[in-house]
């Protein structure tokens, strides 16, 4: 049992008992779907439907349905990819790094954050697949599989190949980590289940959990080991994603600052997305006592820190471009701020650098409505950051003869909607059928003394 100083604010409010925790969390899983859940699901499925049409047409007609051209070979596809991967950073960061740092407040949010990570990585993984001209061969040619072509190997110099490894490793570890954490909770639901189907389903999902002390011990060891494994991955995934750009020769991409800058940006956007989702879940599932204002404030502080890192990175890029004395590099940055895509750049600057600074005010960072709005603004800003890096660097690179504009089509938007539909459908299914808060862990931070907190 956790021994906590009595002067500390309780992490779970409302004087919840261990039983209350079980009741509060399992209620969602055991009860009938609520109206709001049904509506959410309907909207998600509709979005997924539109998106599926776009994906179908993309595969049927070719990449030409997008707005790309000979100069701008990547735009929304890779922007969305990096954006989703970035969002997928928060979950593992919260559960792994905060676990290592013994930040107990993570416990009420890590489950949902990890789920979000997994779904975001799935959405992200759609794009490297769908953006290929020949997905039907590319999906396995990009893997170093033994073959009969002599034997034709992949190109280990290519950052895209590094991506394949980075993303698949991250996804695998995140999934296992998340699932291991779910097992005791599945067991709780199994034990409480009244109908046969749930009993069987959760029985399978809980892998025969018996709640023995030995089992708990193993569980904790595995969680710690996986946390240790996942921690470097949090840093490595976005580092490697940033190599897609950093190792190239295109001005605006060819930048050594990218790895730390991308990781900070990823945490920034990931936390924003966690906030967006948690604020809704908290309200709908009445979990205010578990996800408290304190949580929100702590996450907002992370957002200020990472947002400021990102801001400094933006300024550093400009400084280095000037300091390098390389004309093309300088022009790339002048063009970002003042060229045809100035609006994208300034949207990015406003959303990512200026707006998070509002969280310096305590009453803003503890205001739920303000947090919700800013969390969405941050994610808009982070989408534009990737758009700015990818499109404005490409559209005016070395030879002015090739300079071009990129105009998105319905299908660019449609495939993005597809991932939104996929993400929210998956997340809603998760919220309904899986315990959204880690009951087992939260129970460990319930005040167990006789001093019942009235807060």
């Amino acid at each position: 049992m956790q021994v906590t100083s009595s002067v500390r604010e309780p992490l779970v409010t409302g004087g919840k008992t261990v039983h209350d925790v079980t009741e509060d969390i399992c209620r969602q899983v055991e009860g009938k779907p609520t109206k709001s859940w049904m509506m959410g699901m309907a909207i998600s499925l509709a979005t997924l439907g539109i998106g599926t049409y776009a994906v179908f047409m993309l595969l049927w007609d070719g990449i030409g349905v997008w707005g790309l051209n000979k100069t701008v070979g990547w735009a929304w596809d890779i922007t969305n990819f990096v954006w989703w991967v970035g969002i997928g950073h928060a979950g593992t960061l919260i559960s792994a790094i905060l676990l290592l740092f013994r930040q107990k407040w993570r416990m009420s949010i890590n489950r949902a954050a990890e789920a979000m990570t997994i779904f975001a990585v799935i959405c992200a993984a759609c794009f490297p697949g769908l953006h290929m001209g020949r997905l039907w061969v590319g999906f396995y040619w990009a893997l170093p599989l033994p073959n009969t072509w002599g034997s034709l190997w992949v190109n280990f110099n290519s950052p895209l190949l590094w991506d394949v490894f980075a993303i698949s490793t991250y996804f695998t570890v995140s999934l296992v980590f998340w699932y291991i954490g779910l097992i005791p909770d599945f067991a709780s639901i199994r034990d409480r289940a009244t109908n046969k189907i749930s009993k069987a389903a959760y029985g399978v999902l809980s892998f025969g959990w018996d709640g023995a002390a030995k089992t708990w011990m193993r569980y904790e060891s595995v969680a710690l080991i996986l946390a240790g494994l996942a921690t470097p991955l949090v840093l490595s995934v976005h580092t490697i994603v940033s190599f897609d750009f950093a190792t190239s020769v295109i001005p605006g991409w060819h930048t050594t600052i990218f790895p730390p800058y991308f990781v900070a940006g990823a945490i920034f956007s990931g936390f924003a997305m966690v906030l967006t989702l948690m604020l809704v879940t908290r309200k709908v599932f009445k979990l205010e006592d578990y996800i408290t204002i304190n949580h929100i404030e702590l996450m907002n502080i992370v957002i200020i820190i990472t947002g400021s890192i990102v801001g400094i990175a933006y300024i550093t890029e400009f400084f280095i471009a000037w300091y390098s004395g390389v004309d093309a590099e300088q022009y790339a940055f002048i063009n970002r701020a003042t060229g045809p895509y100035w609006w994208a750049y300034w949207t990015m600057m406003t959303c990512n650098v200026i707006s998070p600074q509002l969280f310096w005010f305590k009453n803003i960072r503890t205001n739920i409505a303000a947090t919700f709005i800013l969390s969405i603004i941050v994610n808009i800003g982070m989408w534009f950051e990737r758009f700015v890096i990818i499109v404005t660097s490409l559209h005016r690179d070395y030879l002015p003869s090739s300079w071009a504009m990129f105009y998105p089509t319905f299908y660019d938007v449609g495939v993005y909607l597809f991932t939104f539909g996929l993400f929210f459908t998956a997340f809603l299914l998760f919220a309904k059928f899986f315990p959204v808060i880690n009951m087992a862990e939260v129970k460990s931070i319930i005040k167990s003394s006789s001093l019942k907190s009235n807060k």
Binding site: K70, T71, G73, M132, L152, N157, L160, D327, S401
Partner: protein, 1038 residues
């Protein structure tokens, strides 16, 4: 055994011996089996099935008649055709008066590529985009497949019968017959026409040209008594002055002139002189873009400018027009080594031009009047008379021989005139505007299916030989004429051969056919008015005495050239020209060398005019305009053209076709109705009554390049002027350095530092050198590459989407007046800019950024320095294209072949006929893969194998790329940089280094040689030579 009394029964039935059993006891099957029930009569189910089976088989066998195919498998190998081995035949491209001596590459009996014929003294192996593209016109689905008799597809016999009887009855009644044609270069065709005229005495031959040179012809008739164009020799000229003559793009014989011109523009360690070129023109033409000094003038000032130059030369009179005085001074200094030409079709202007050249003693040196050229023979006066006669009902029958006056002679009311003619026959190859209006169409062969000849210049003969059996039921137009003349079984081949034997005195026909060209003394061609003066000149070889009334010409000019308000200058685009080959998608999608626009014509206006009239523009989006000329108006897009003379607008001919075919119909607007008459000749300038109203509607012209300037980037374009080059051969070079501890002075060339060890090329090391000084931007290479490498055409919409597929593009940059640090200002081209053309193709980098980023190693480096693309390994991530600093990689966004969406766009890959043009040595790429220039690897392999078969190494010149071989100015040089005897090795002054590491770069010591974007260390195998302009110091721009 005898004790054994046991009895065995077959069954209870035997034991009991009941009668029913005994009855069947001897039978094998005791029960009834209905096997032979019907033996001997009736029919069973089985028989029915048998009969039916046989019946069906018999009926179906009878139904399928064994198809008779004319194709004979190559098991019975024809002589001369080896599958996989191309054959080359010498032939001649003629289209009206356009001429080019060519070699036709055929594979398995199909012509697939056109190369220049190096044996020709005229074109010297050069080609143009139109020539290169003509092979696709052969496989045009829109061609007529059979003769048309009164609007319906018919038979040749019926057509001939009808035509002969009608011609006969016209002749019997003494009705007038005319043969209308464009310039005919063929002496034999003219003989056929003479035969025809002999049979029908009322027949006359009227010649006109879509773009007339009547002015020159008339002026020369007056000056020298000879109605012909002289032979120009730009290569001998030190000073060239052109008044609106686009001699590198569209004027008279651009391939020939480009070749000559380029000789004066090439410089090197041993030749530090070049010609100086002045251009006075309204629209910015390819030629104007190459000029050292260019003055934009209004069409109404064109005559005056010529007069001003004349007066400056003869009288030293000062002129208001910029550079006239400077040109005059230099012309006078370069007497006998200068050349003044004018594109004007006004005989008065041309007469003054003749006077200038005469005053400069250019006749006999740069102008050869004793070897007249027959490129343009059209007589505007006669044609006008023909239309007037027809309108008055004085013409009874007309044969339109390979011409389309309903489309391209709209200045007069030709359509109205046609309705008065009772018999109209056309030999058009397609149901074009004239053919549709004709009663009979006797479709002619494509020139690649024909026999024929040409005499482009006096004594210079050229043969046309068929390279494929006629694809359709077409007939050579000459044979049609012979048939109608009364020859029962016309055989034009024998007719031609006889003519050559008899008239040209060709004894070795085989040799002439092999060479494609033959030099003789010259038979009397079209020039009916061969005067004594010519013969004298031919003997003496010197200038013919010039006789012309210059003062009356000057008076006429002063009287006629009065512009009021906006003026319209009509011009031809390098690709589409006069519109004859408009249905050729390669040409439609060929970016115009100057505007970089495709698929449209447009009103070119100056930036100043656009700003004053509220024209809004961004990335090719621009307002449309309503152009009204003398009451006729059209709506068309606007294009802001730097260098456009103030007060003028320009519009290209050749568009707005109605009946050219699905590719061309409705593209752009038809400008022929705006052609006017001036001083008795057709004029392509409208000096008054031109109004332009800017409409609010926006239109996007499909441009392959939307950014106009090179933003002052020295790593892209390196240029200087001749005087500085003479002092320092490194003039204009941009040599960025990087500080390092590795060298003694602390600095090394940017790009010298590398992560990579480099490549060792033990055998060949292919390289290319591109001379920016000789490249005129003509784009022959772009089309040659398209033809050689099966490059798809993507259509207007996809060009707007910036997805053109050309492997080789020509970047065109304008200069800007803005200072180097004003990025916004640098985006704006100068009002009258300097222009640079830069062919841009895969640079075959030794440290290729594309190669490292491909996840599946689909693009790799060869052992001979090529950056090679493996299409079937490509998964289409496009990372390579993003990471290419030169942006030369092309992605297959869609399936461009066998796709209904591209049916009328990419005809070479979407119908069976069009597909015949595809090069079988080059894969047609599938959707979703990346492609790019391969350095024509198929040609390299072919030449290597040929050499290997003969047990030797390939010699220099044997391996060449399509672009290099098509170039009329030899701006592109391709060769093995390992071969010390190769031209490229010598020209680039390569020194071999024996460094163990970092062997990627050949040490190039030619001072003008540079690599584009050298500082990023890609180490390309393509080297550019700096652009040097022949300008004086004070005139240079930033």
């Amino acid at each position: 055994m005898s004790d054994n009394k046991k009895t065995y029964w077959k069954g209870i039935e035997q034991l009991s011996n009941d009668p029913a059993f005994v009855k069947n006891a001897d039978k094998e099957f005791p029960e009834f089996l209905p096997i032979n029930q019907n033996e001997g009569g009736g029919s069973s189910r089985r028989d029915f099935l048998k009969m039916m089976g046989f019946g069906i088989a018999a009926v179906s066998l009878a139904a399928c008649e064994a198809p008779i195919r004319k194709a004979i498998p190559y098991v019975n190998k024809p002589v001369d055709v080896d599958p996989g081995v191309p054959n080359y035949y010498a032939s001649t491209y003629t289209s009206g008066g356009d001429y080019c001596s060519i070699l036709v590459k055929t594979r398995e009996g199909r012509p697939i590529k056109i190369e220049g014929n190096k044996l020709s003294e005229i074109t010297q192996g050069g080609t143009s985009a139109q020539v290169q593209a003509s092979v696709l016109t052969l496989y045009d689905n829109e061609r007529l497949v059979a003769p048309v008799v009164e609007g319906k597809e018919g038979k040749w016999e019926d057509l001939d019968k009808a035509v002969i009887s009608k011609l006969g009855s016209i002749a019997a009644q003494g009705g007038q017959i005319r043969i209308v044609s464009n310039t005919i270069l063929s002496p034999t065709t003219k003989k056929v026409i003479e035969d025809f005229k002999a049979k029908y005495p009322t027949a006359q031959h009227v010649t006109y040209d879509a773009v007339s040179a009547h002015g020159i012809l008339a002026a020369n008739e007056e000056s020298f008594g000879q109605r012909a164009i002289p032979s120009y020799d730009f290569s001998k000229a030190d000073v060239i002055v052109s008044f609106g003559a686009d001699f590198l793009g569209t004027w008279i014989s651009p391939v020939e002139f480009s070749k000559q011109y380029s000789k004066t523009r090439k410089i090197g360690p041993n030749k530090k002189t070049m010609s100086r070129h002045y251009q006075f023109e309204s629209n910015l033409t390819t030629t104007g873009a190459n000029a050292d000094y260019r003055t934009p003038i209004k069409p109404s000032d064109e005559g005056k400018a010529v007069v001003a130059l004349y007066e400056a030369i003869t009288g030293g009179k000062k002129s208001q027009i910029k550079y006239i005085d400077k040109a005059a001074t230099e012309l006078k200094k370069a007497k006998g080594k200068s050349l003044v030409v004018s594109g004007s079709n006004d005989p008065a202007v041309q007469l003054v031009v003749n006077a200038i050249n005469n005053a400069l003693s250019n006749y006999g040196s740069t102008i050869d009047m004793s070897t007249p050229a027959y490129y343009r023979q059209g007589n505007d006066v006669e044609m006008k008379k023909f239309v007037a006669d027809a309108k008055a009902g004085r013409i009874a029958g007309v044969i339109f021989y390979n011409c389309n006056p309903v489309y391209n002679y709209k200045g007069e009311d030709i359509a109205g005139a046609l309705s008065k003619i009772s018999l109209k026959i056309s030999t058009a190859d397609r149901p074009d505007e004239t053919a549709v209006a004709s009663d009979y169409v006797a479709p002619n062969h494509h020139f690649l299916e024909s026999w024929g000849d040409a005499e482009p210049k006096k004594g210079q003969y050229s043969l046309i030989q068929p390279t494929i059996t006629p694809i359709f039921k077409t007939r050579q137009a000459e044979e049609s004429l012979l048939k109608w003349t009364g020859v029962d079984t016309p055989d034009y081949y024998s007719y031609l051969k006889n003519t050559w034997n008899r008239d040209m005195g060709v004894s070795n026909w085989e040799q002439a056919l092999h060479d494609g060209v033959y030099q003789g003394s010259g038979v009397a061609n079209a020039v009916e008015a061969d005067s004594v003066a010519t013969e004298v000149a031919a003997v003496v070889g010197a200038a013919v005495p010039f006789s012309g009334n210059v003062s009356s010409a000057v008076q006429a000019i002063n009287k006629n050239y009065k512009g009021s308000g906006l003026e319209l200058a009509l011009y031809q685009k390098v690709g589409i020209g006069d519109g004859t080959q408009a249905n050729n998608p390669w040409l439609q999608e060929m970016p115009d060398p100057v505007t970089k626009s495709t698929w449209d014509n447009y009103l070119t206006v100056s930036k100043k005019w656009a700003d004053e009239n509220g024209v809004e523009y961004f990335e090719g989006h621009c307002n449309k305009a309503k152009l009204t000329v003398k009451g006729v108006s059209v709506e068309l897009p606007i294009l802001i053209q730097p260098g456009q003379a103030e007060g003028t607008v320009g519009l290209a001919l050749g568009y707005g076709r109605l009946n050219a075919g699905k590719v061309a119909d409705g593209r752009g607007v038809d400008a022929y109705p705006f052609v006017t008459t001036l001083n008795g000749a057709v004029s392509y300038n409208v000096l008054s009554d031109v109004t332009v109203e800017v409409l609010s509607e926006k239109y996007q012209i499909a441009k392959t390049q939307t950014h106009q300037t090179y933003m002052g980037r020295d790593n892209v374009i390196q240029e200087s002027i001749l005087s500085e080059y003479k002092v320092n051969p490194l003039a204009g070079r941009h040599e960025p350095k990087i500080s390092t501890w590795m060298s003694e002075d602390g600095k090394v060339d940017a790009g010298a530092l590398s992560l990579w060890k480099g490549h060792k090329y033990n055998n060949h090391h292919w390289g290319m050198a591109i001379d920016l000084n000789s490249c005129t931007g003509c784009s022959a290479c772009t089309i040659a590459c398209q033809s050689e490498n099966n490059v798809p055409v993507v259509g207007r919409e996809e060009v707007i989407n910036r997805r053109d597929m050309h492997w080789l593009r020509i970047d065109r940059y304008y200069s800007s007046d803005a200072p180097a640090d004003d990025h916004k200002g640098l985006e704006q081209a100068a009002a009258n800019p300097e222009v640079t053309f830069q062919p841009m193709l895969c640079q075959h980098c030794n440290n290729a950024p594309c190669e490292t980023v491909c996840p599946v190693a689909a693009t790799t480096h060869s052992t001979e320095g090529l950056n090679q693309m493996t299409y079937n390994r490509c998964i289409g991530t496009r990372y390579c294209a993003n990471n290419c600093p030169y942006k030369v990689r092309r992605f297959n966004w869609f399936k461009y072949h066998d796709n209904g969406d591209f049916e009328n766009i990419n005809t070479a890959m979407n119908n069976d006929l069009g597909k015949m043009v595809l090069n079988p040595d080059v894969t047609v790429r599938s959707r979703g893969v990346m492609e790019k220039c391969s350095f024509c690897v198929q040609r390299i392999q072919y030449a290597k194998l040929e050499a290997k078969k003969e047990g030797r190494r390939p010699v220099d010149g044997e391996v060449t790329t399509a672009c290099a071989s098509s170039c009329p100015t030899d701006a592109i040089m391709f060769g093995d940089m390992n071969d010390k005897e190769s031209k490229i090795y010598k020209m680039l002054n390569i020194k071999d280094t024996e460094a163990a590491d970092y062997i990627t770069e050949k040490e190039i010591h030619e001072p003008r040689a540079y690599h584009v974007l050298a500082e990023i260390g890609t180490k390309p195998n393509i080297t550019y030579l700096t652009k040097i302009r022949n300008k004086d110091n004070e005139e240079t721009k930033a």
